[in-house]
């Protein structure tokens, strides 16, 4: 039997370098996003655009947690863990808002972070029990940490969205403007998508974290547009209508930039692409 010589592989076409590199590792990203988002959450006097930046950072944190958990295969699809995060987020938000008046200094509400911490604990408990050999035994490395981070990120996301729409973290104001208007349902499902959709859409053997994160930022932009519209309609911002309009402009700008970047990255990194005419080729 003759040994066939190894096939000389054709040299892969040189890839263009990516211009979007977020230099942070998953842990660093969690710490940075968590701290910045928490600071923006507790001070409600910031303009909506800055809160939007915090929101996008929280989305990136949540997406990273989904990414590192779901790559081992959950068995029920990626969406489940994103919905779990926002479900925990809503419970934590109710808890945080209830405690908001304690230790309040003007527009600074440090007590809402208790809700974030409590959801971290509940996430840790559910992650530990899900991974425990004698219980559900999912056998996913670091599931405990990921579920904890998801609970915390989910709570920060819903708190930030409430803060954007109402301009404060007063429980009564949030109930009137967010819960009773039904806006919470939109927030729930759109935040779910911002967390779960990036990895759900990009997963596969050639998935790359940098590219996946572009989708998270892009959906964050769309959520900002939605919240900006709500802010304009409700008229709750202390800075007037300009606050909502600036958030819409910011959201559209973020969406355009990152959608372009994502399509470009996909086309650069794919071996070859065939245009369907649906998306105009960017060259």
């Amino acid at each position: 039997m003759t040994v066939t010589p190894a096939v000389v592989e054709e040299e892969a076409p040189t890839k263009k370098g990516l211009n979007f590199t977020f230099p942070l590792e998953e842990t660093e990203m969690g710490i940075v996003a968590g701290i910045i988002a928490a600071v923006i959450t507790i001070y409600t006097g910031f303009p909506a655009v800055i809160k939007g930046v915090g929101l996008i950072l929280a989305f990136l944190w949540g997406m990273d947690s989904v990414h590192k958990t779901s790559k081992y295969g959950l068995g029920t699809g990626v969406p489940s863990i994103g919905v779990l995060a926002i479900g925990y987020g809503v419970i934590g938000t109710v808890m945080g808002l209830a405690l908001a008046e304690y230790g309040r200094i003007g527009q600074l509400y440090p007590a809402v972070l208790v809700g974030v911490l409590v959801m971290g604990v509940i996430g840790l408990v559910s992650g530990t029990m899900s991974n425990h050999e004698k219980l559900i035994a999912m056998k996913i490395p670091h599931l405990e940490r990921a579920m904890m981070e998801l609970g915390m990120a989910g709570t920060l996301i819903i708190l930030l969205e409430c803060s954007i729409v109402t301009g404060s973290l007063n429980f009564g104001a949030v109930v009137t403007n967010v819960m009773n208007t039904g806006l919470i349902a939109l927030m729930f499902i759109f935040s779910c998508f911002a967390i779960l959709h990036p990895y759900n859409a990009c997963l596969g053997p050639d998935e790359r974290r940098e590219r996946t994160r572009m989708v998270a930022v892009e959906i964050g932009g769309l959520v900002c547009v939605l919240l900006g519209l709500a802010l304009v309609v409700l008229g709750t911002s202390p800075y007037g209508i300009l606050d909502g309009v600036s958030l819409i402009v910011f959201g559209v700008a973020v969406w355009v930039v990152f959608f372009r970047m994502f399509i470009k990255a996909c086309m650069d990194e794919a071996y070859s692409t065939v245009g369907t005419g649906l998306i105009k080729t960017i060259e």
Binding site: T76, P79, G87, G89, A98, V118, V125, M138, V175, M179
Partner: protein, 233 residues
């Protein structure tokens, strides 16, 4: 807040969470294989099916709660709403499978239907895991919808009347606690399940134990929030 009311909130939230977990195990979850007609059940994940059924249940429960203070009536209306929703979904899935794909609704896990005693194995396409929603699975799915809707409505009632939340807050709070429990059940199921006759149903105690812990903590969170607010909202 009175201690009795506090205990009642925690107990109702825990019962709701356990029922959510049990209901999720009874649903016909087909997942991706069912989308190709090669597995029994509805072609999506546990979370989506359970969420759809319970949302409907919460709508009916909330409608009834506007004119009734009866716990039994609100809980049952939620259960019936969820059952109607899941039945319609299973029926439409069957129409699509039978007339669209041309496959017979057949169970892949048992050779004889445990309820109607109809033979299953001769009609099963080789290399597949059943098709559509056969009788036993349909009955199990209705039971799952009923139990899940009951759990969701119980939580809604506790949050609305005992914790004193507004209708919107109570609905989204109940949905969130429900979702957390249903997802833990989904992780226990791992993919597809047919119902109570499925061998995977024996894993139920593990999910119930986890659900108990999670819903107990969520119930305590709700009690703390309600106590701090003093029934103001």
């Amino acid at each position: 807040m009175e201690p009795v009311l506090m205990i009642l909130i925690v107990v109702l939230v825990v019962i709701g969470g356990l029922l959510a977990s049990l209901g999720a195990h009874l649903l016909p979850v087909g997942g991706a294989p069912a989308a190709m007609g090669t597995a029994t059940g509805i072609a999506t994940g546990t979370v989506q099916i359970m969420l759809g059924a319970t949302m409907t249940g919460l709508f009916t429960a909330a409608s009834v709660a506007t004119f009734s203070d009866s716990l039994a009536l609100v809980a049952l209306s939620g259960a019936v709403g969820a059952t109607v929703m899941i039945s319609v979904v299973m029926f439409m899935a069957n129409i699509l499978y039978v007339f669209g794909c041309g496959v017979v609704p057949i169970s892949g896990r048992v050779d004889v239907d445990p309820i109607t005693k109809e033979p299953q194995a001769p009609y099963k396409t080789p290399q597949t895991d059943g098709h559509g929603v056969p009788n036993v699975v349909f009955v199990s799915g209705m039971m799952g919808g009923f139990i899940g809707g009951l759990g969701g409505a119980l939580m809604y009632y506790a949050l609305l009347n005992y914790a004193g939340f507004s209708a919107g807050t109570a609905a989204i709070g109940a949905l969130s606690i429900f979702v957390a429990n249903a997802i833990i059940a989904a992780y226990n199921i791992r993919g597809t399940i047919e119902g109570f006759h499925d061998p995977k149903f024996k894993r139920l105690p593990f999910a119930l134990a986890t659900s108990l812990a999670v819903s107990l903590l969520c119930g305590i969170v709700v009690v703390i929030a309600a106590t701090v607010l003093g029934g103001a909202m």
